[in-house]
Amino acid sequence: MAATSSLQADGDKGKSSEASSKWLNAVSDPMTNIHTFPACMALADLHGDGEYELVVGDLGPDGRQPRLKVLKGTVLRESPLPALPAAAVTFLMESHEPQTPAVAIASGPCVYMYKNLKPYFKFSLPPLPVNPLEQDVWNQAKEDQIDPLTLKEMLEGIREKAEVPLSVQSLRFLQVELSEMEAFVNQHKSKSIRRQTVITTMTTLKKNLADEDAVSCLVLGTESKELLVLDPKAFTILAKMSLPSVPVFLEVSGQFEVEFRLAAACRNGSVYMLRRDSKRPKYCIELSAQPVGLVLVHKVLVVGSNQDSLHGFTHKGKKLWTVQMPAAILAMNLLEQHSRGLQAVMAGLANREVRIYQDKALLNIIHTPEAVTSLCFGRFGREDNTLIMTTQGGGLIMKILKRTAVFGEGGGEADPLLSQPVKLNVPRKTRIYVDQTLREREAGTAMHRTFQADLYLLRLRAARAYVQALESSLSPVSVTAQEPLKLHAVVQGLGPTFKLTLHLQNTSTARPILGLVVCFLYNEVLYALPRAFFKVPLLVPGLNYPLETFVKSLSDKGISDIIKVLVLREGQSTPLLSAHINMPMSEGLAAA
């Protein structure tokens, strides 16, 4: 498929260069050093002067210097944040004039609210209930009724069974070494145990009016698998819902006091649907993959999965369509063009593309110099339709949609494979091939006969050689039923003395072989061996027996000869195995 996808990409490139006229390039700065993700980007008129500003919760280049960055026109202001931002939204707190939206940054267990870009309020999540048993145990420890060892045992018991997890303090205690337990208990026993959770995601929900400038509530998703709705003025918890898993992305439509639908994509790979009166999810979509983005387009819930695909679902969790992406999805967001009533999904992909889809139809592809990790679309400055993207390396790209631009279906992609005539790569045949064909037609019979005759000759020769080898036991493997043996010989050295090693192996499965002898046949004028005849020890099946002997070359004329090795059974004259060893020339003597 590799060839297909590359072809597709090429086809698209040509298309998009002509289609890129839909966008005007406003800003393209690779050095802005913004590292963020779609949930931490928001556009709002923070000063009420009609100039929309970009609010970014920035993680910092290595995720260590969290900052709140606000871009107005080309002016970037920043202030440090106490911890990494998990989400950033802008919302209206009250309905009276002048209406200036507040900025909310979710970070750790708190939401930090800014008004006019000045710190305004800090909301902290209420601590989670602790296990009463755990509390009891610690109370006993506090009053020195139990020693640390018993404490440990009891805590372990609670951990095994209880529904409510232990507090950090108890977990830490369970890890402490025996010697340090006493000190740990003394240090911590006076403290009340606490369980704290953190915010994982945040979004806004209109309170009672559907208007653009209506007061909104904050909706928080927490690590403790809960959803909280906060009152926009008093910051009290208006509603609490629980989920089967930790929420990652939230999408809300409707108004809190009338009716709303909430979709929460969770870490277990499912998307849960909740409604106003439900404390628990009403519908569930199981993706069998991790969701990487969640966008509500009109009434269709678009989910991006980490298996490189976009899925469309209804509010009741019925699957409508699936579109396969050419690369991994990094970021997703909504594109809403109010003037034309257009809503579409933008997806930033790992192959440095931003694709815009309306349902299944690809509307547009934007090619970027780097992979886009976060993006949002909306009013910036005084321009209604601005696309803001940040890239992997911390760059910022802004594009303005031309007012004349209309997204047409199929604008991004015509099927390149069907439209282009493809040449089939048929191997060519040479002149020689044709000549040979003609020759075969003329003299086919003769060719066939010659071939058959040669084939028979070859077979005959092979058979003769084989019979000869069998007759003289020349093969290195003996196949007789009694003595299955394998022999191979190695000659080492430069001469005049060589080392001859015979490797003898009994290849039977269970039976040892006893009573074998080895005999060397050689020209006594040329070579001298200490023993020309010796007994072989008992051969255990499977083991390799190296039998070494020295061979001295007597000739100084540089002559070499064959030494025959025979393996015999005692009392029989026909050899079981035989080997002809071509001795090398003695170089040592020549040098001397």
Binding site: T4, G63, Q187, C284
Partner: protein, 507 residues
């Protein structure tokens, strides 16, 4: 800033413990974006800060390790997670998954059963249990688990696995039923559509097969499996140009598919572009040297090209891989006849007659050879054998015969003085225009024994049989150039052996 991070850090009582889950969301974010380097950095930091207590960090680290192929290490980390929170079914599921990937299916089943105790309504557990049982060949248990998974929540994957079980059991009808339901549930899943189409093709329900394969191609015009199957069906109907355009699309995607090149070659063969056909077949043969169907086609094309020596080699190679097919021996015999090796040709015909049960051509060709050798009695026996088969075929199915074959048979009948054989009465009446359809149905008759479970094999077999079709048209042109055969004793019969040999060459 007003908020300081260390409000309580300097109180002398005891240091505040960091929240364990503080950066879980960030870990997850990096993980789903497949930014594993950044993810590992955050995990390391988090684990240091919490002294290894952060369960989610360990969990994601194990997931990443598993994706990177370190299954054994990931298993250890998942087990650690299971110790940290023993009530969580998720951890157990991952432990089981790692065991499954390591091939320890029995151990995986045990852990999945543990997890099922904690969470009874999880389709994933049921589905994976089912898959484990498939690997252990306990199909009934697997079926139960997969059905209960479907009951909890319907997923394409479960349908596919369930269908696979029925295919493994050899129950095609049940498999089709399952795939039908699956297609109803997710009508755009091309894998499901293709599999269903191929199953219909296997059962010979061409209309439905074509419908489903067509649907696949509307959703994914480059799905090569569907292209190959649909193309082979078009080929069977003689639409070589349409099939070729389809194959061209597939050839861009999978350039090294032997069945694809085989089918392309047979398209060229159908269009009488023999050199191109040989080129493509040789490529297919290079890609799959042990595939007898390609060798069969190569033999066939070389016979048509009158390259009998080459044809002999390809056919004998094909016979070495597939020694149980009468037609192969018949083709070999035709090649040998043309190579003037009558003795061996006869032996090959004997073998072909022994193996073949339904093809009258085998007997007819043999009879022609025997007649040319002057062995009229044996020729007569073969001729009668052929008549038997023809009668059988006529009554068992609505087959119509190749008119050229009928002509040769009639001439031979006359020569053998059996009188005008009446076996052909029905087909002879058929007008010439039915030529194409007649050959099509003949091809389908061969398709059955050749067919295999494999989609590609299926496509291939139809091509292999198809190869014989167009030669009916091609044969006439070769009649003008009679091949070297021993001459007939009776001058009146001179035309006949040439025709017969043309016939045999085709078949």
């Amino acid at each position: 800033m007003i908020w300081s991070t260390r409000n309580s850090a300097y109180t002398f009582t005891a240091p505040e413990f960091p929240i364990l889950e503080k950066q879980n969301w960030l870990i997850h974010l990096h993980y789903i974006r497949k930014d594993f380097e950044a993810c590992k950095a955050v995990i390391k930091e988090q684990l240091q800060e919490t002294q290894g207590l952060c369960e989610y960090a360990i969990y994601v680290q194990a997931l990443i390790l598993r994706l990177e192929g370190n299954i054994q290490e990931s298993l250890g980390l998942f087990q650690m997670c299971a110790v940290l929170s023993p009530q969580c079914a998720d951890n157990l599921k991952q432990v089981a998954r790692s065991l499954f990937l390591l091939g320890k299916h029995k151990a995986a089943i045990e852990v999945y059963n543990e997890a099922a105790k904690l969470n009874q309504k999880d389709w994933e557990i049921c589905h994976n249990l089912g898959v484990c049982y498939i690997y252990l060949k306990q199909f009934d248990k697997a079926q139960d688990q997969l059905l209960s998974a479907l009951h909890l929540n319907r997923h394409d994957l479960t349908y596919i696995m369930l269908g696979k079980i029925f295919l493994l059991k050899g129950d095609l009808d049940k498999a089709i039923e399952i795939y039908k339901k699956a297609v109803e549930f997710s009508p755009e899943n091309t894998e499901l559509l293709t599999t269903l189409g191929l199953l219909y093709l296997q059962l010979g329900i061409y209309q439905k097969a074509f419908e489903h394969l067509g649907n696949t191609l509307t959703y994914d015009p480059t799905n090569h499996k569907a292209i190959l199957a649909a193309g082979s069906m078009m080929q069977t109907h003689g639409d070589f140009d349409v099939a070729l355009t389809k194959y061209k699309v597939a050839a861009c995607g999978v350039t090294e598919s032997p069945p694809l090149w085989n089918n392309i070659a047979m398209c060229f063969f159908g269009k009488k572009k023999y050199v191109a056909a040989i080129s493509c077949l040789k490529r297919a043969n290079y890609l799959a040297p042990l595939e007898w169907k390609i060798l069969y086609n190569l033999g066939l094309v070389h016979l048509t090209m009158q390259q009998y020596a080459s044809a002999f080699h390809f056919l004998s190679a094909a016979i070495n891989f597939q020694p149980k097919m009468g037609e192969l021996y018949m083709l070999l015999a035709v090649a040998l006849t043309n190579l003037e090796d009558t003795e061996n040709a006869k032996r090959a015909y004997e073998e072909a007659v022994r193996l073949d049960k339904c093809n009258p051509l085998v007997n007819l060709n043999y009879a022609v050879l025997l007649y040319n050798q002057g062995e009229k009695r044996d020729a007569l026996a073969q001729y009668q054998e052929m008549e038997k088969k023809v009668n059988l075929l006529k009554y068992s199915s609505s087959l119509e015969f190749d008119p050229e074959m009928m002509e040769v048979a009639q001439k031979l009948g006359a020569a053998l003085q059996v009188g005008e054989a009446l076996v052909w009465t029905k087909p002879v009446k058929d007008p010439k225009s039915k030529h194409q359809t007649a050959s099509t149905s003949k091809a389908t008759c061969f398709q059955q024994p050749l067919g295999s479970n494999q989609a590609l094999g299926q496509a291939m077999s139809s091509a292999a049989t198809y190869g014989k079709l167009p030669s009916g048209a091609g044969g006439t042109s070769q009649l003008t150039k009679p091949p070297s055969l021993p001459l007939e004793p009776e001058p009146t019969m001179e035309a006949q052996p040439a025709e017969a040999s043309a016939q045999t060459r085709e078949k």
